[in-house]
C-alpha cells in the first residue's frame, strides 16, 4: 500500500514536470508567433498590410524570422514592397464562397502583380492562373482595372480562389517602386476589395 502510494506520487511528479515542459515549449512558440504577427513592425493601408525591414540585414530578428517562415527569400524594401490582404474592404475574411471585385488604377512602381494564395501557397486551378501583373492585366480606357476574384476565376481578369476553405490572401508586390513610395505606403491609393455576392 505504501509502495503503491509512493509510486503514484512519483508518477504524479513526473507528469507535472512533463506538463511543465510542454507548457514551456508552447508558451515559447506562442509568444514568438504573437511577437511576429502582432509586434512585428508593419504599416496598414486600409485592409492591406506591409511589413517593415523585409529582406534586409537591418531587419529586426522578429521580421527576419517571420519572413523566413512565411515569405522566404523576399527582396528588401529598396527593391520590392509587399502588401498582403486577408479581408475585403469591410474587414470580412476572404472566402471561396463569395465573389469579389478587386479594382484599382496604376501604381507608382515599375512593375506590380497581384497574386492569390490559400494557406500561403498558390491555389491550383485548371487554367493555372495565379496572378495578374501590370503588363498582363486588361484595363479600361482610363487605365483602371478590375480583377474578378471567385471560386472558378470567371469574369474579366478572373482569378480563381478554388473551392476549399482556408486562409485566403492576396499579395500585392510593387517591384522597384518610385522614389518615396516606401515612406508613404500608408497613404497609397490601394486596390479596393469589394464583396459582390456569396453562395448560400
Amino acid at each position: 500500500m505504501a509502495e503503491g502510494a509512493s509510486l503514484a506520487a512519483r508518477l504524479g511528479r513526473a507528469a507535472l514536470w512533463i506538463a511543465a515542459a510542454l507548457i514551456g515549449v508552447a508558451v515559447g512558440v506562442g509568444s514568438l508567433l504573437f511577437a511576429i504577427f502582432q509586434g512585428g513592425s508593419s504599416v496598414e493601408n486600409g485592409h492591406w498590410r506591409s511589413a517593415n525591414g523585409v529582406g534586409g540585414a537591418e531587419a529586426s530578428a522578429y521580421v527576419r524570422t517571420g519572413v523566413a517562415v512565411f515569405g522566404l527569400w523576399a527582396l528588401p524594401t529598396s527593391e520590392v514592397i509587399y502588401f498582403v490582404a486577408q479581408t475585403d474592404d469591410e474587414g470580412r475574411a476572404l472566402t471561396p464562397r463569395c465573389n469579389y471585385i478587386v479594382s484599382g488604377g496604376d501604381l507608382p512602381t515599375r512593375w506590380w502583380s497581384i497574386t492569390a494564395y490559400r494557406d500561403f501557397y498558390l491555389i491550383a486551378n485548371p487554367q493555372s492562373r495565379y496572378s495578374f501583373a501590370s503588363t498582363t492585366i486588361a484595363r479600361d480606357d482610363d487605365g483602371d482595372w478590375r480583377v474578378h476574384l471567385n471560386a472558378q476565376g470567371e469574369g474579366e481578369n478572373g482569378l480563381p480562389l478554388g473551392t476549399e476553405e482556408g486562409l485566403l490572401m492576396l499579395s500585392l508586390r510593387l517591384y522597384q517602386p518610385h522614389e518615396g513610395v516606401f515612406a508613404r505606403r500608408a497613404m497609397l491609393a490601394m486596390p479596393r476589395i469589394e464583396r459582390q455576392s456569396c453562395a448560400a
Binding site: G55, T65, W73, L75, S113, T115, S131, T135
Partner: protein, 182 residues
C-alpha cells in the same frame, strides 16, 4: 504550492529558451529546408538551375511569386571563392540578381536598372577569403559559408513563346565556378 514552484520555474525558463532559440535559429532552419528541397529536385551545390514559372504544388517556399522565371543555386563557399557570371537582359519587365546569406539576409541585389544589358561578372568571397586577382569582377562578401543565389525575371507577356524563350536563354547563361588563380 511549494511543489509547483520548481516546475513553474522550469516552464518559464524553457519558454524563454524556446522563444530565443526559434527566433535566431528559424531563419537558418528555413533556409536549410529550402536548400534541401531544391537539391532534391535536381542540381547540386554551386550549380545554377534555371526554372520556368512555378505551378501550384511545385513551390519551394510559401508565398512563391507565380510570375518569376529565374535561376537559383545553393552556394557553399567552404572550398573557396566562386565566380558568378550572368547576363543582364534587354527589354525585360524586370530582372534582378540577389545573393542571400544563410540567415536569409540579403547581401546584395542588382537589377537591370543598375546594369546595362550584357555580361556581368562577380566574385563571391566567404568568411576569411581574400579577393586575390579579382579580374575586373565585382566583389560580393558573404558572411556565411552557405548562401543562396536567386535571379528573378518577369516578362511583359509571360505567355509569349519568343519572350519566354529569350528569358530562359538568359537565365541558363548564369554560371558559378570555383575561382582560380592566386
Amino acid at each position: 504550492m511549494r511543489g509547483l514552484a520548481g516546475p513553474a520555474v522550469f516552464a518559464l525558463l524553457l519558454a524563454v529558451f524556446t522563444h530565443v532559440a526559434l527566433l535566431f535559429g528559424a531563419p537558418f532552419v528555413a533556409a536549410d529546408f529550402s536548400f534541401a528541397r531544391m537539391l532534391e529536385r535536381g542540381g547540386a551545390v554551386n550549380h545554377v538551375v534555371a526554372f520556368d514559372r512555378v505551378r501550384a504544388g511545385d513551390e519551394n517556399v510559401p508565398l512563391t511569386n507565380a510570375d518569376t522565371r529565374g535561376a537559383r543555386a545553393v552556394i557553399d563557399l567552404s572550398a573557396g571563392p566562386l565566380t558568378l557570371d550572368a547576363l543582364v537582359p534587354e527589354g525585360a519587365a524586370y530582372w534582378s540578381l540577389t545573393v542571400f546569406a544563410h540567415n536569409t539576409d540579403t547581401i546584395t541585389v542588382v537589377s537591370d536598372q543598375d546594369l546595362p544589358p550584357g555580361p556581368v561578372r562577380f566574385l563571391l568571397l566567404g568568411p576569411g577569403h581574400q579577393p586575390g586577382a579579382a579580374e575586373g569582377r565585382t566583389l560580393i562578401r558573404v558572411p556565411t559559408r552557405r548562401a543562396y543565389l536567386l535571379v528573378r525575371s518577369f516578362q511583359n507577356d509571360p505567355d509569349d513563346a519568343d519572350e519566354a524563350a529569350r528569358a530562359m536563354a538568359t537565365l541558363r547563361a548564369v554560371r558559378l565556378a570555383p575561382a582560380t588563380g592566386p
